[in-house]
Structures are given as C-alpha cells and as structure tokens.
Symmetry: C2
Subunit: 473 residues, 2 copies
C-alpha cells in the first residue's frame, strides 16, 4: 500500500526527504505572522530550524520567490464527488435532488476505479497546495452492501491513493447506519446505493475499523492517520453514537460529523428527538477539541454555545455550501464562542482552499452587510494549523521546528497577485490568489509540485478526464 523505506512516526517516507534548506523571500505562519527572508531547514521530513530575517544562508538553500505558507489542510473531502463537477449544474432542484445524482455515481465505483479517481482528485488537491486531506469515507462495501474480502478495502484504497498523490490523509471512517429520519421520527432503512455505506450497527462498524490496526497517535501507516466519523443525526441513531465516540476516544483520534447542513435535518431531528442535531451529538458525548462539526450552517444560539464551549472545530465548506444551496453559516459567531474554524472542499465543485478561506469572510459580508469579520491571518490559520490539528496532525500546518516540513509557495507575479503592497501580502493572497497561483508544494520535505506541475503524476487533468469518463459512462 505504501512505498517501501524508512519512515518517520507520522510523516511520509523519510528516505525521500534528505536534509534540505529553503530560503523563502516572504513567509507567513500562524506562529510568527508575515516575515521576510525566512530560512527553513529540514532534517528528514521535519523542520529542524526556522529563521526569519536570516543572514547566513547555506549554499544549497533553494530560493522560494513569492509567499510561502505552511501546508494547507483540506479538512472535509468526499473524493468521488469530484465526478459530479459540472454535470449536476445542468439541472434545477435542491440538495436532495443533487444527492440522488451523487448516489448514482456512488453506485458505480469499485476499488480499482476508486483508486484512479481518488489519486487524481488528491493530485488536484496537491496542485492546489493541500498537504493533508481529511477523507470523510463512507463508501465501504460492494454492491448491495456485501463486504469486500478485505472489509477495509475501500479505505485502504484511499490511503494508497493519497500516498501515490504525495499528500497525507486522515481516513475519517464513517459510521452510516440509517437512510434518514422519517416523518414520524423513525429511522428509515438504508436503501439502494446507501446499502454500500452501512455496517449494520456501530459495534460492527467499530470491529471493522479496528482491523485497520491503529497505531500510536492514530497512525495507520506512512502519511496516514485514522479518524472516526458519525455521518450525521440522519444516518446514525443516538443510541449508536456512543460506540463511535468511544472508539475515537480510545484511540485519541479525530471525530467528525456533518451538522445542520440543511434546515430539513434540523426539522426531522427536532421531531424525532426533541432536540437539535448539535444537542443530540452533545448528549452522545461527541463534542470536544478532537471533534469537527462539518457545515454547522443552521444553528441555534445554544448550538453555537455548545460548539464553542466544547472547543470543537467548525469545518466550513463555503463553495459546496453555495453549490448545494445550504445557506450561510454563523462563522464569526462560532469563532467568537470559542470554536476553531477549519475548511474543506467537500463535494469538490471547486478545489481551491484560498477560495474556501475568503468565502467564509465574503459570505458573512453578504449576510451581515459589514466587512472585516475575519482577518486574512485568521482565515489562513483555518486553512493551515487549525485544519491540520482537526485531522490529528497538530505537528503540521506551521513553519516551526519539529513540525512536518510542508511548504506551499504562492506566486506573487501572476495578474491576480501582482500589484500588492508589502504590508498586505497575506491579504492579497487570501483574497486575490487562486489555486492556479500555487507554484510549488513540498510535503514532508519532498517536492510534490514544482512550477505548477505534479512531480509524481505526469498528467493530472488527463487522469481526471479518463477516470471520470469511465465512472459516468
């Protein structure tokens, strides 16, 4: 599944990462802000020294013009949704009609196709500066819900896809048991393509994921860590949640859940349980600093307090939330309450973490008619250190000694980023740059993207076209 060789505890293969040094013309990190002439030195796959305003430059240091950022974390991904980009724009409807199209694609995917598709999608992410992906993975079983010979074949496929695309993954293995909440509050059985998502009950979910052999700090292998997910209150009955929560606690790994993406979820949840989805998750012990609530769009004031006081992460996916007509979530109120913001490209209508970051602020401007809810540094923190922490990599997403040696270099000489003022370089990048301006990406000391070209896969667009054509055919 993974390339051979000596590996560090939690990074990518160390043999591919000799000692190296880079000199960043400009660099920003949550720890030190924006600085010039930052010397970054790595031993193996980790930074050994980080020196802003460096004066003594080692001869072999690679110069990085532009703005160097820590690695970007894509905290919420459903890799196979990438096949839907474009085609679902041809029809009207709602989130729920979109979901029908998504299920059609889910139905068609087998492990071989999944490897090809996820590898190409993860490569697209790497080109966009993503150094770690949180894959919210629920496509577990074969047609009709029949397990594969290895019941974790699909999960292992995703880890292999990430390794081959050169980025890290947190496999958020998702418990998905019910097909929704009916009018009367009863759980609907899984049906059709949903059968592939289900393990029967949470004990069997836990038994399956236990076979992944989770190591220390959640490690599953080089560049891969484990996490748990409760799909949503729609898909997991409250009585089944405790097992998932307990498993995540036992291994000390992240726990993710979709939360209140649609008003209909709240309505059905209130009818069934007399409580909001956030309250139901809280009751199950599911909130806390290792937890991420994805979307968190339609929240009550007490919901916001629950997320804030528990120091949970709120994972916003603004391009998907616009695409699926979810609405604008209370990002700044969540942040003020104490929740840490993270970002995901979710359905991959767009893969551009800079766009996700600025849309958090811009959507809130649209809703509030005021500017300046988040600083560029706060948005960049969501995209880097907070995102990595939410995926179980607290030692990534920062340019600091001991952290994984990840670098993302953004061009400052494109038509989009040119014309900046020195003091507002980070603002120019967060609000003006796009994924097309990512020039170089280094992950665990290894050069994965150079000058906009993926170094492990020859032609990422061709790979996307080929596998998506096959999936849709």
């Amino acid at each position: 599944m993974s390339p051979p060789g000596r590996t560090s505890e939690s990074g990518l293969p160390a043999e591919a990462a000799p000692d190296r040094a880079w000199l960043a013309e400009l660099a920003w990190s949550p720890g030190f802000g924006l600085r010039a002439n930052v010397l970054l030195e790595a031993t193996g796959d980790r930074f050994s020294r980080v020196t802003p305003d460096a004066e003594q430059i080692p001869a072999g240091a690679v110069r990085l013009p532009g703005l160097t950022l820590p690695g970007l974390a894509n905290a919420h991904s459903h890799a196979f949704h990438r096949a839907l980009r474009g085609i679902t724009q041809a029809s009207r409807g709602t989130f729920w009609t979109w979901r029908e199209r998504m299920y059609e694609v889910a139905q068609r995917i087998d492990p071989d196709g999944y490897l090809e598709l996820a590898r190409a999608v993860y490569a697209e992410m790497a080109l966009a500066g993503v150094t770690c992906v949180g894959e919210f993975h629920y496509l577990h079983h074969g047609q009709g819900g029949v397990p594969y010979a290895d019941p974790n074949e699909m999960g292992r496929t995703l880890m292999r896809a990430a390794a081959e695309a050169g980025l890290r993954i947190t496999l958020l293995d998702t418990c998905y048991l019910a097909g929704g909440l009916g009018q009367d509050g009863a759980q609907l059985p899984l049906a059709g393509p949903q059968l592939r998502f289900g393990d029967g009950d949470s004990a069997r979910w836990a038994a399956r994921v236990e076979e992944l052999a989770v190591g220390e700090s959640g490690t599953l292998g080089p560049g891969a860590k484990a996490g748990a997910a409760i799909h949503s209150v729609r898909a997991v009955p409250p009585a089944q949640m405790g097992e998932v929560v307990g498993w995540s606690h036992r291994h000390g790994v992240p726990l993710h859940a979709h939360l209140s993406e649609q008003v209909a979820e709240n309505t059905a949840c209130l009818a069934a349980y007399g409580a909001t989805p956030a309250a139901v998750l809280n009751e199950a012990g599911a909130l806390g600093p290792r937890t991420s609530l994805v979307h968190a769009t339609h929240l009550t004031r007490p919901d916001i307090r629950l997320l804030g006081e528990s120091r949970s992460h709120a994972c916003f996916c603004p391009t998907t939330e616009a695409d699926l007509a979810d609405g604008i979530g209370p990002a700044s109120r969540l942040a003020a309450a104490g929740a840490a913001l993270t970002l995901g490209s979710d359905s991959h209508a767009v893969i551009d973490l800079l766009e996700e970051a600025r849309r958090v602020e811009l959507d809130e401007r649209l809703a509030s008619r005021e500017r300046g809810h988040f600083t560029a540094a706060e948005l960049a923190t969501a995209a880097t250190s907070a995102g990595h922490a939410s995926l179980g990599w607290p030692d990534a997403g920062q340019l600091t000694p001991g952290a994984l040696a990840d670098l993302v270099v953004v061009r400052l000489d494109s038509v989009r980023t040119a014309g900046l003022a020195p003091a507002s370089v980070l603002e120019s990048v967060i609000f003006g740059a796009t994924a097309a301006d990512i020039r170089d990406v280094i992950i665990g000391g290894r050069e994965i993207v150079r000058d906009g070209q993926h170094q492990l896969l020859a032609d990422v667009p061709a790979a996307l076209q080929s596998v998506i054509t096959a999936v849709l055919d």
Copy 2:
C-alpha cells in the same frame, strides 16, 4: 491615440485583421448553443461565415481545442480601483470606510499614471477573456477639480489604454455633481477628492462630453464608443438627470447608473425625495433598453417591475458586491420581470467574468436555499451578448455572421475543467473554470492573447506591480 491604418466603422483597426478561419472543437454561442466542429470565418474584423458541424475545412484554419465562447463583456469597471486589491482587506468597516481608501487612491492619479494603470488593468481583463469593457468614468479633472487643458484628457487616456491593451471600450462618461444626500435631504457639496469628479452641473457635463465628438452609433474612434452615466441618486440631483438622459437619447448611446447598492442610499433617497432610487431614475426618464442599472441590490417589488417593464439591463457585480458587503440582489426576480442581466468586475477585487457569472447563481442559492435559478447558458448570455448590447455593441458577443470577430477559448484540459461530460461542457466551464483557464483571446480578428500570454504587452503582472506601487507610494 490609436494605431494608424484603415479602420472599420466600429471595430479595431482592420489592417491588423487579415481574412482568417478558425475551427473550434466545441463552441457555444447564444444563437446556437453548444456545437462541435464550428468553422468560424472572418473578413476584416467581422465574421463572414459561422458553420457548426463543418465538413469542409479550409487549409489555413486554425484549430482551437477547448471550448470557444464569444467575447466576454465587462459591463462595469472602475479601472483605478484595481490598485486597492488586497490593501483594503486589512481593515474592518463598511462600504463607506472602503470608499475613503478609494478616494485616497483617486486623489493620487494623474493622466500618465492613469494610462499605465488602466492599460495594465485592461490587459489583465483581456487575459481573462474580456473583449469589451464598460468604463464607468468619473475621474475627470485635475487636483481640486481644475480641468485639464483638454477637459476630456482622462477619458481619452482610458480609450488609449484600452486600444493599447487590445480590447474595445465604451467610455461611460459619468455625471457626478453632489457629494451625497444629507440627513435633511439636501445635497452635500463635493469635497476633497470628489472635486475631481464634478463638472458643476449637467449642462457643463454635456458640453464637455460633446467635445468628444460622438460619431454614428456612438463611435468615438477605433474600438471605442461613447455612453453616458448618472453616477447615482446620491451624486446627481433629480433636476440634473434630464440633461444626461437627453444626451444619451440624442446620440442613441448607453446610459448607466449605480442603483441601490447600499440600504443607506435607499434610506437617504426616500427621505430626500419620497421615492426609491429606481423610482427617481424612472421619473427622470432614465430607464429603458439602452439603460443599465448597476448592482440593483436592494430593490422593492415596484422597483423590480420598473426595471423589468422598461427592459432595462441589471448589471450585477457579485465579487465586488460580496467584497463591499452590499448584499445579494434579486437577480432571478429581475430576469423574470424582463430585465436583461449583465456582469461587471467593478472594483476589480477579482477580474474573472466566469466567477462573476457563477456567483449570480451561487449567491442566489445561498439566499434562497434552492439550486438552478439560472442555466449556464443564461449566465453565459449575460457575460457575452447581453453585456455587449448593454455597452452599445449589439453586433458583438455572438458567433454569427456580421458580428465582430471575437473569440475566447477556454481550456478543457486544466485540473479545474478536466473530467467533464460532453453534454455539460458549458456548465463545467461556467461553474468550474477560472480566468486562469482562458487560453486564447481574439478581438476583431486579431490575436490578443495566445496560450495565456498577452501579445501586445510583454509582462502584464510586472506592469501592474510597477504602476500600483507608484500609485500607492
């Protein structure tokens, strides 16, 4: 001001446009939708023949892989605002505090700097597929409002900038007389940087623009046409609007006005005149098929009916409207009422007409929680034929014989656009592509952008950096 040589009535110099033919692998136009193997033949600067499913291909035809669109019209631009990209993101505040920063930049610009800045900004537009810009121009006079020796020097500078960047311009010369509406409904005098905008009264405005020597169909020179603008109800008293409306009628040219971008404008207008801004403009005879109302964000039901029944254009600028916290306008209700939608990049926080197009739909999804208000074809029509028509170029923005020979080729082999289904190519481009995916741009038969490189200006980002640094210094 313009290169020498034989010119057609309304296009760019014809000598630069020999007879040519292109074979578009795929092309979309408002007239025929999405077709394959479209042979496009031009004589001089206009299409002579357009043949979908072409079988006989002339030997010299240039093959265009990707999706070929008609030229994109940027119907609302303030070129100098480009200098603000990034720097205004560092502060909190509102539209009104942003405006203070914008005035500071306005204060610093002289004709030489304006030429450099506008040329670079228009080149950035050309690289994004814009073939015609509507420049809403109010920076008329020197410091303190003292006219230049040629009182139209700034307007002529903008026309020269467009010609040197290779695209067409409609100079929307803007009447700007007052500094706003006070609490008591009285007009505030122009003050500070605003003095540069004012002509004193509308008669003097008309006398000045008359010196531009407007020719047939509004022509001002090769690739340039005239239009009029009423800045807004804030800046032009109702009694002064008739002169501007009359001038635009006399010459048969477009009339543009900002409308209800901010709630405060509506409040002040109601207090001053007992009517909404749309009603005030209607009373002045300013609505109609040659009129564009820019933003049209905060409208009443009767306002929407006025714009629709008059067949006015509603020009949406979604990236600016998000940046400036304006809010989400009623795009689909305006369209349903009969108003034609157009698009502008306005403050140039972003220059990407594809992003403007999709955000009209996506913002409405956020507001309504439903998908599919506009089809990709409707959004593409706003960006092409409707936009051009609103700028006085009804003979552009369509791939049809007799139209100006403008082509914009979008790559289908980038990571963003790869993986499309043949039936939804336009959807993939409108919802998934960015300005970075524009490969070739042909304007009036002349190649302005080839493989993402501007053919008239060597280094557009360097030009932007140099002039903006000088302006901000």
